[in-house]
Symmetry: C2
Subunit: 220 residues, 2 copies
């Protein structure tokens, strides 16, 4: 019926691959915007909460759960979906490392794409990704969510690379370490057996610390 409003959720899923920040996109099979890239999403089912719907969409695409996810913004322009009035509650998800993904039933293809070279996208999804990137950068500057895109144990250099990749700028090694250690990371006993160079100490995120601690700017 045309007098009601459809509710969907779309999830911007970020991951790091090498020195690139990537977002998971799916290529639509159906109209509208057939054969165009979009971020994964779906209708919210009446008996599931918004959060549950977003978790479900994420799981369907990546088979991961229990990762960082937060509500981003709700987009609700009247003409954003040509099929009829639809609002979308968007979420931002950070997954650790690059994951293998398979195209779903309604998609031609599923791929990780660099946020620095985004393809044309259907609906208002290009806006959504841009907004999500802005938010991610903002969060990285002020809080400590960087961990969430790394494996459970990581080196400080890996972490610094992650920050540099997301923020799109080089950071000073010593200042980075000083600042990140003044916050809430615990060090590990394990050494690392890297093929190249001197082994690095591994760190892991402290469970007892809240990742969202509001600190002074970490990287102004």
């Amino acid at each position: 019926m045309d007098s009601s409003i459809s509710v969907t959720t779309d999830v911007v899923i970020f991951a790091l691959r090498g020195d690139d920040l990537q977002v998971l996109l799916v290529k639509r099979k159906l109209q509208p915007f057939a054969h165009q890239w979009t971020i994964p999403g779906g209708h919210v089912i009446p008996h599931e909460s918004l959060e549950d719907a977003a978790v479900r969409v994420l799981f369907e695409k990546t088979s991961v759960r229990d990762i960082h996810m937060e509500q981003l913004y709700t987009f609700g322009d009247v003409k954003r979906d040509p099929r009829g009035r639809t609002i979308t509650v968007t979420y931002l998800a950070l997954v650790p490392g690059p994951l293998a993904v398979e195209p779903g039933p309604d998609t031609d293809d599923t791929e990780w794409k660099s946020v620095y070279k985004l393809p044309e996208m259907g609906f208002d999804h290009a806006n959504i990704v841009t907004y999500a990137l802005k938010r991610l950068r903002y969060k990285l500057e002020y809080s400590a969510v960087g961990f969430r895109m790394l494996p459970p144990e990581f080196t400080l250099t890996q972490l610094q690379r992650a920050y540099e990749t997301v923020l799109g700028q080089k950071l000073d090694k010593r200042n980075f370490r000083r600042r990140i250690l003044q916050a809430i990371v615990i060090e590990q006993v394990n050494k690392r057996t890297s093929g190249e160079g001197r082994p690095a100490m591994l760190y892991r995120f402290r469970d007892d610390a809240v990742s969202e601690v509001k600190t002074r700017r970490l990287f102004p």
Copy 2:
């Protein structure tokens, strides 16, 4: 029909009265939650955007337009409305000074209530107000939206009072002035004829400055 989701918008409207931060509440006439306080809201009409709906609700309650308003969060728990599945896209509005308000057709009463002494509230609206207050404080610390709750021309002491009232703490006069002036306020020629004490210089917000400038923390 029970298989669809209703979309509403609710607006948390803050204003200062004296040394109190207040929120506009309406007392419902109808079930559910009849005779309980809620924040003003209404259904989103299919041919209006979310933002337009929020502006409309605000106007219906306060007869003001063109004030600071921003999207807050979208609440969508399954059981938040006993009538059926409803999500609400909430907005935060700041209005200058206390405004007279009249109860609308579906409300018993409309009143400004102190955020420090909130009554029991229907739906999940107590949560929403709490969340809005948290967001407002956060914004005040980092940006300069304090102006938006004052008349167009104001003294620095008034502005400081506003910050103190919202943040719930005293601030140092000289440090406050130093910081606020290092940002984006323009001074005025007018003196003020206060009954009490030495007249103060009036200031007004600079149109050419963006109120949302991200500064270093103003008041940590």
